[in-house]
Amino acid sequence: MLESWLQRGQSPVGAWLIFGIVLLPVYAMLLGWFVGKPRNLRLALMGVGYLIAIPTLLWGGLALFVALLGRLFF
């Protein structure tokens, strides 16, 4: 299967590399937040909320910024 992926230029190496290795520390962190002591679901969810809100704001802000530049220059 790997051979056929590689031949079609659809190597899944990134999926394994990023989601299987690079993000391991993040999985460990999330596990620690939810099952580590002292347990506090509200704060763990708040942490996850930060992890969702910050990139959303970041990319949302960037989208608005580049849209503005697009309107001004293109």
Partner: protein, 477 residues
């Protein structure tokens, strides 16, 4: 130094700005305005104004200082949060006073790195239109998509880290942590803090001085504090402390091993058509120079804050000595890795590798970069061997050398890597690369932005942690 005065000293940054502050903002703002003009010029007339838009005007170079600047800023960014994470995980209390400054450096340097990617794309809308649209497929195979993901992740983790630690700190200065073990002045309330309810903009320890002595914060910082403290409960301190510990653990594994020692160098190291970039040596080399430049950046910022706010007791000499020690180690590692590259690249290397190594050793910029790092190592090493030579001021001055060297070395790495592809593909391409005024303006402008960031953020949040380990332990007990 009394605890109370320590807190008041830290909160000095929130006070009314002096005329020098506005002068600094004006100078930095001038640099940013010039950069904005340069960028608008490029947007109006196209990337051809930089010479990076085609293969025919700069000896084949299409990646120049925009990518060099990107690597430079991202290197500076990576070390900052590592210092802070190490403080928490390995109990390196010496560096506690500069932990938040290092975190903030990570945040703003990462933003600058991302800005260089936007610049490099030519049309900024490609950042969203092309990258976001292609991302779900590209993540499986494209190092550029990995890069975007990992930088976003790193920014998110750093911002979350700051938000959690600042939250605890802000509550401590605003109203104590909910019991008698409250931080600092909490033990000696006196004329400081009065109310503990959220929403108050009165800050204990912040006597204001300039604000009629009532400790009343201006509207913007007060609003930011309220937002950051949303839903705060006094009993959360212990859990937040653990969450920050887990976050620090993730960062300290992720940043050196997979970011600046991984995904960032993989952008180059997996391209066999570019012998100057290809190979496993790039990971350690990128990491060593990243940590060198980051430590230099932290030394420079820490010294400036110490000087401006009279923080000789808050950021003592021991902090600079400790940072210097690690700076020497990583700078020596960088030099050692350079020797590895030169020996293997010149002795009996494949044709492409030999060509690019020869080009490197004939470049003045390369030897200037190496020389600057070597001089910094020699001087800082002498300081360690002969303590009478040590002074924070000299350390501050010397810390600029590795920073300049990194910018030179990384820009050269990008340019020569692309100029010397396998089979000398661009041999007949006319012209030679030299940085355009737009690229140089971008470097100057991003430095201006970072200066503005470090001038304005301390007006909103404390840049040194007010809560000490003892406070937290006492409170948690």
């Amino acid at each position: 130094m009394a605890e109370q005065s320590r807190e008041a000293l830290i909160l000095k940054t929130l006070g009314r700005p002096s005329p020098k502050f506005f002068l600094l903002l004006a100078v930095a703002g001038g640099a940013v305005a010039w950069f904005a003009y340069a960028w608008s010029f490029m947007l109006r007339y196209g990337m051809i104004t930089t010479g990076l838009a085609d293969w025919g005007s700069a000896g084949g170079v299409t990646w120049g200082m925009f990518i060099g600047g990107y690597i430079w800023w991202i290197g500076i960014a990576h070390g900052g949060i590592i210092i802070s994470a190490a403080v928490r995980l390995f109990n390196l209390r010496t560096f506690m006073p500069v932990a938040r400054l290092a975190e903030l450096l990570t945040l703003c340097a990462l933003s600058m790195a991302a800005l260089f990617i936007v610049l490099h794309l030519g049309r900024p809308d490609r950042m969203v239109v092309s990258i976001v649209r292609a991302f779900p497929r590209a993540i499986f195979s494209s190092p550029l998509a990995w890069d975007v993901l990992v930088i976003t992740l790193y920014f998110t983790l750093t911002a979350t880290y700051i938000a959690l630690t600042v939250r605890q700190d802000l509550q401590a200065i605003r109203g104590g942590m909910g019991n008698e073990a409250a931080v600092g002045g909490g033990r000696a309330r006196g004329g400081y803090f009065s109310r503990s309810r959220l929403g108050s903009s009165t800050v204990r320890g912040y006597t204001g001085g300039q604000y009629a002595g009532r400790g009343q914060l201006p509207a913007l910082p007060a609003l930011v504090h309220r937002v950051l403290l949303t839903g705060y409960k006094p009993e959360e301190s212990k859990k937040v402390e653990r969450m920050v510990w887990w976050l620090a653990l993730a960062v300290i594994i992720l940043a050196p091993l997979f970011l600046h020692g991984g995904v960032i160098p993989w952008l180059f190291a997996i391209l066999p058509s570019m012998p100057g970039w290809y190979g496993g040596l790039q990971g350690p080399t990128f990491l060593s120079i990243a940590l060198t430049s980051a430590l230099s950046g932290v030394i420079i910022i820490a010294y400036i804050f110490r000087r401006v706010y009279g923080w000789e007791d808050i950021i003592p000499d021991s902090v600079f000595k400790g940072l210097t020690f690690f700076l020497i180690i990583f700078a020596m590692l960088f030099l050692w890795l350079q020797i590895q590259g030169l020996v293997t690249g010149l002795y009996a290397a494949p044709v492409g590798v030999e060509a690019v190594t020869r080009a490197k050793v004939h470049s003045f910029s390369y030897w200037l970069a190496i020389g600057l790092v070597a001089v910094a190592v020699a001087y800082l090493g002498a300081q360690r061997l002969r303590p009478s030579l040590f002074s924070p001021h000299r350390t501050f001055v010397v810390a600029f050398l590795p920073l300049v060297a990194t910018l030179l070395e990384k820009s050269l790495f990008v340019v020569e890597g692309i100029m010397e592809p396998r089979f000398s593909l661009y041999r007949a391409v006319p012209g030679a690369y030299k940085p355009s005024w737009i690229e140089v303006s971008a470097i100057v402008g991003t430095i201006g932005l970072v200066v503005m960031f470090f001038a304005l953020v301390p007006k909103v949040i404390p840049v040194v942690e007010v809560t000490t380990d003892e406070d937290r332990r006492e409170h948690n007990a």
